[in-house]
């Protein structure tokens, strides 16, 4: 069953400088237990999409269905079964963690709220902070408390808007591990936005790329990276720049000399042994060989820049 179905969703804003389409006729589904990444450069329409999915922005056109129910007709039913966590929203800073969570437990009509909160605090190893004021917590602690808030109602779907933004790598990694654990333990569906491609590759089953309001690509992270055919081969050498130049010119290979001793050559993955052998055969002594396969970041950059990586062909 589809947890979420979005059909022809559009948002146009009328600005003094003219009309602006933030989200243009997008459609997608999210299945039970699936983590779907919503990616794109700044201004792509990710946040506007999430805000429409939460009902805090009204779409210009299109429909949103949660659990096969129209969101705008069954707002309260749908909101009772979903939740939201974002690095850009915080809880009430003046009140304690426990007080904040008690308020949201009441709003979500959680049965036995104290028990539920204590269970979740334990799950996230945050029990010691229950009576701390929210604004006294570190960014990482706040992120985890936000996640706890988003789990109070045992949601079937969580919308996560850059949950690891502004976290240091260690805390971000721990947060990602928690999300992975949630997926495994609770079979939860997650709509996830992030600018961190490594995170997206790590947890998302499927990815949708948005650019200027349009869906420009959607596939699994692996499928998307495979859409970039070229692999980068970085060679470090002592002498023989001219010989390498000669080889890449003969074989029409895109390349870029980083400096007098390092060259990056773009080629198909299966051609790598042939290239190394060919250059070696010309008498070049290579001191280091590094193969860099395309990542989701390359897909992102390709989409954001509207063109593939630029390689000089001298």
């Amino acid at each position: 069953m589809n947890i979420l179905s979005v059909s022809h969703l559009t948002k146009k804003f009328n600005l003094p400088t003219g009309g602006f389409t933030a989200v243009n006729n997008i459609s997608f589904e999210l299945k039970e237990g699936e983590i779907l990444g919503l990616l794109g450069p700044n201004g792509a329409g990710k946040t506007t999409t999430i805000q429409m999915l939460l009902g805090i922005i009204i779409p210009t056109a299109g429909s949103i269905h949660y659990f096969a129910k129209d969101f705008f007709r069954h707002r309260q039913y749908c909101l009772g079964k979903i939740n939201y966590a974002s690095a850009f929203n915080t809880l009430q800073g003046r009140t304690t963690v426990m007080e904040n969570l008690l308020v949201f437990s009441e709003l979500y009509a959680v049965a036995d709220p104290k028990k539920k909160i204590l269970e979740l605090l334990e799950y996230f190893e945050m029990t010691a902070l229950a009576n701390e004021r929210y604004w006294d917590l570190s960014s990482g602690e706040r992120t985890r408390i936000n996640l706890i808030k988003s789990l109070l109602n045992d949601p079937q779907l969580i919308l996560m808007d850059e949950p690891t933004a502004s976290l240091d790598p260690d805390i971000a990694d721990k947060t990602m591990s928690l999300i992975e654990k949630l997926k495994k333990d609770k079979r939860m569906s997650i709509l996830f936005t992030s600018h961190n491609m490594a995170e997206v590759t790590r947890i998302c089953d499927r990815v949708i790329f948005l650019d200027r309001g349009d869906i420009v690509a959607q596939d699994t992270p692996l499928g998307l990276t495979k859409s970039i055919k070229k692999t980068e081969l970085q060679l470090t050498f002592d002498t023989g720049k001219d010989l390498i130049q000669q080889y890449v010119t003969e074989h029409s290979l895109k390349h870029n000399f980083i400096n007098g001793h390092v060259v990056v050559i773009q080629t198909a993955e299966k051609q790598i042994p042939k290239v190394i052998f060919g250059i070696s055969k010309k008498g070049v002594w290579m001191t280091d060989i590094e193969v860099r396969k395309p990542t989701l970041e390359d897909v992102f950059l390709q989409i954001a820049r509207g063109k593939p990586h630029e390689f000089t062909k001298d």
């Binding site: 309260q76 008690l102 308020v103 949201f104 709003l107 004021r133």
Partner: protein, 252 residues
Amino acid sequence: MHEAFITRHSYEVINDIVIYPLWSIIVFGFLTIYLAGVAGAAVAHYVLIGMILWQIINITQYSIAVGCLWDVWARNLTNIFITPISIGEYLIAYTISGAVKALVVIILGGILSFLVFRFNILQVGLVNFWLYFINLVLFAFTFGIIILSLVFRFGTRIQAFAWGLITFFQPLMAVIYPVSILPEPLKTIAYIFPPTYVFEAARTSLGTPQIQWLPSLMALFLNMVWFLLAVVFFNLMFRQSREIGQFAKLEG
């Protein structure tokens, strides 16, 4: 619960809804002592009853408008609005909390004015007191909705309205003086506001034990009209705010 937790941790809220109203009652209490000497006890009591009842409007509308702003300032409003509660439930919850706070402060203010200034607020009669209280809470609720409509639509740049706009209309509601002293055009405007009937009735009831049904029903009728208009206005502003993305920007 949310309000209680915030209030417990916020000195400024306690100041705004407890200390400042009580302080106003004290200041006006001393003024009444002076007025009693120069203009008679009746005039003095008019001023004091007006100031005490005014706190009902002040505290309740503050509770709704500023209560919401606490969530905006904390970037918590989205979290609240994506829960299954309806906007109506949200507003009613703040009104109940505001009315409870107002009642507590009025009881404290009543005790204070009795002990210090020998003025018994229940001199207006218990039934009258409740009629006034209900009407003033209803008006404050409506006024709070209007303020929130403006905050949602135009953002926090007009947040000062939350605690300041009501005082702009205070002179027109004849809180501490009779409507009759207002210039002719302002008299007509004064009678558009439900609290004007309440304050007039309160002054009358200081001198007579009769229940002030007529002005109270008139105030109730006007409150209903104001409330319906406020709901229409709120729905319009709230919808526009979500259409143009202003609501989402409130926390940005």
